[in-house]
């Protein structure tokens, strides 16, 4: 507790709190779309595929310049989704297997590069390994500003285009029929997912960032039948998870942030699964379904 209070007066820690709150909120909101688009697994592949991008950029530029590393992450992330689409379209392989292949290839390649970096050059000091599980404590002010600003911008985009996203998700044919730019909106949704993954990996890590996209909306679905409320609720659940993860991992030395965030989100999920008012486990038992 004392450790917590000491860190609370620390300016850097306050920034981390703001960042984790906004990141959690944005990923909950965007995750709601991902869930309804039935692309939860693809978002996991995109997250894992960010690792080789980070490593390649570090090898090329030999500095730990976060924006540059994140550009690399975005490129390999997008490459992974394109590869998955290509495999599904051009072969007999089904979606689940295609995702499985791409996750392992990209992540495996990322680990190889990471190991190489750490055994050579000045890489051992670069702290690139924090990209795997996330480390809120290692974030500096500029990192957190990037996360906060990015997350805020993504939420603004979803608020502005909420109605259009909703129709595109529910009934893309009809959306196209009334003249909505459905391909553009789908592309934009993909961009939102890549963006949230990319800005989130420093804090949550490539392995678990997808859980922050998937779990809060799943929990929110147990409380509402309205997409708008679901997105806001998922955002709140994500924000709670983000903040508690950042706080616990910063005060308890040595705990990585990502896993703690995901455990908090999972706790919220299980509570919702049990007590949720829309098809929660207890409610179903009471109604005898």
């Amino acid at each position: 507790m004392e450790a917590f209070l000491t860190s609370l007066s620390n300016a850097n820690f306050q920034w981390v709190l703001v960042g984790s709150l906004l990141l959690g909120f944005a990923s909950g909101v965007i995750g709601s779309f991902v869930l309804l688009k039935k692309q939860s697994l693809i978002s996991d592949a995109m997250a894992h595929a960010a690792l080789p991008g980070v490593c390649i950029m570090f090898l090329i530029f030999e500095v730990k310049n976060v924006p540059i590393l994140l550009i690399g992450a975005a490129i390999t992330s997008l490459l992974a989704t394109q590869a998955i689409q290509f495999i599904i379209n051009k072969s007999r392989i089904k979606t689940d297997a295609a995702i499985g292949v791409i996750i392992s290839v990209f992540f495996g390649f990322g680990i190889v590069l990471l190991t190489y970096i750490q055994q050579n050059s000045s890489g051992s000091q670069a702290g690139l390994d924090s990209f795997i599980f996330g480390q809120a404590a290692s974030l500096v002010k500029s990192d957190v500003q990037l996360i906060s600003g990015g997350a805020f911008l993504l939420v603004v985009i979803t608020v502005l285009l909420f109605k259009e996203f909703k129709l595109t998700l529910f009934d893309p044919q009809f959306a196209k029929g009334i003249g909505l730019p459905v391909s553009f909106l789908n592309g934009l949704m993909l961009f939102l997912v890549v963006a949230i993954v990319v800005i989130g990996i420093q804090m949550v890590g490539v392995i678990l960032i997808a859980a922050l996209l998937i779990t809060p909306p799943l929990a929110a679905r147990y409380w509402t039948e309205n997409l708008g409320i679901m997105a806001i609720l998922a955002g709140i659940f994500g924000a709670i998870s983000g903040v508690s993860g950042a706080v616990i991992s910063t005060t308890v030395v040595g705990l990585p942030t990502g896993p703690v965030i995901v455990l908090s989100a999972s706790l919220i999920f299980f509570i919702s699964l049990l007590f949720g008012t829309k098809n929660g486990f207890l409610q179903r038992r009471v109604r005898g379904v």
């Binding site: 044919q173 009809f174 029929g177 039948e225 309205n226 679901m230």
Partner: protein, 260 residues
């Protein structure tokens, strides 16, 4: 006045032709049924007219102008099975989707739009279900929500994809009444339909389709034994008891086409 003019429409999937050189002209203020066996390309036809799927060649004109300029005149009722009814939304919200073009990008539905949507729900007898989660509606009620959404579009030409499939009698009546009302208002209705028993009763015109146009014109002229055999191949065993004699129930029953 011609509502829809389709010229030489050709569509293929992976180089396999699904529709070949389909041409027809639908007069304003009529109800047309698109009829043909499974895999004849009925849904493909309306989806390619609506530009939901790409076509290889062909032109579509709406009231004499290219489709692209006339999109706002088109209303669409997709197949009910094509959307996820578990989606977190209610009936009124779905109907409001029919107003999105009128509302415009970035904006939210105002009071007038909501009132309009409620009115549309009322017209299909669903006013008591406005706030109902869509997964808790029956198949027929879901279809009526789709109809209300099409009504909300306030279009001139309506395309409906298998609206009668899997609905209850009340919904069937609601659909027919709506089609007739549209016709009276000078609107044009085009319906993909697979039930041969009812085709004669519902439609003014029939487009008999099996990848190509088998025949198109007034129902009496098109709905003949010869044409049906051409469209369905040898698949209709009891066609001797033909459409026009088919007012008695037994003959009716034998006419419904069984997909293999």
């Amino acid at each position: 006045m011609q509502a829809i003019n389709v010229t030489n429409l050709t569509v293929s999937y992976d180089r396999n032709p699904v529709l070949e050189n389909v041409s027809f002209t639908i007069p304003n203020g009529s109800i047309t049924g698109i009829i043909g066996p499974n895999g004849a390309g009925k849904s493909t036809l309306i989806k390619s007219i609506l530009r939901l799927i790409p076509s290889n060649s062909g032109e579509v004109e709406v009231y004499g102008k290219p489709y692209g300029q006339q999109k706002q005149l088109i209303g669409y009722v997709p197949q009910r099975s094509e959307v996820d009814w578990d989606f977190p939304t209610n009936a009124l919200d779905v109907v409001l989707m029919g107003r999105y073009r009128h509302i415009g990008m970035f904006k939210r539905a105002g009071k007038a739009e909501v009132a309009w949507a409620k009115e549309c729900l009322k017209k299909v007898g669903m006013q008591d279900y406005a706030q109902r989660q869509i997964s808790q509606l029956s198949g027929g009620q879901q279809q009526r929500v789709f109809l209300a959404r099409a009504l909300a579009q306030d279009a001139m030409v309506y395309f409906m994809d298998e609206p009668f499939s899997g609905v209850d009698a009340a919904t069937e009546r609601a659909i027919i009444e709506l089609m007739k009302k549209w016709k009276q208002e000078g609107k044009t209705v085009i319906v993909v339909h697979h039930d041969l028993q009812t085709a004669e009763d519902y439609f003014d015109h029939i487009l008999l389709l099996n990848k190509q146009t088998i025949d198109f014109g007034e129902t009496k002229k098109v709905f003949t034994l010869e044409n049906l055999e051409k469209a369905y191949g040898g698949k209709i065993a009891f066609l001797q008891r033909t459409p026009s004699t088919a007012k008695e129930p037994t003959a009716h029953g034998s006419l419904s086409y069984q997909p293999e």
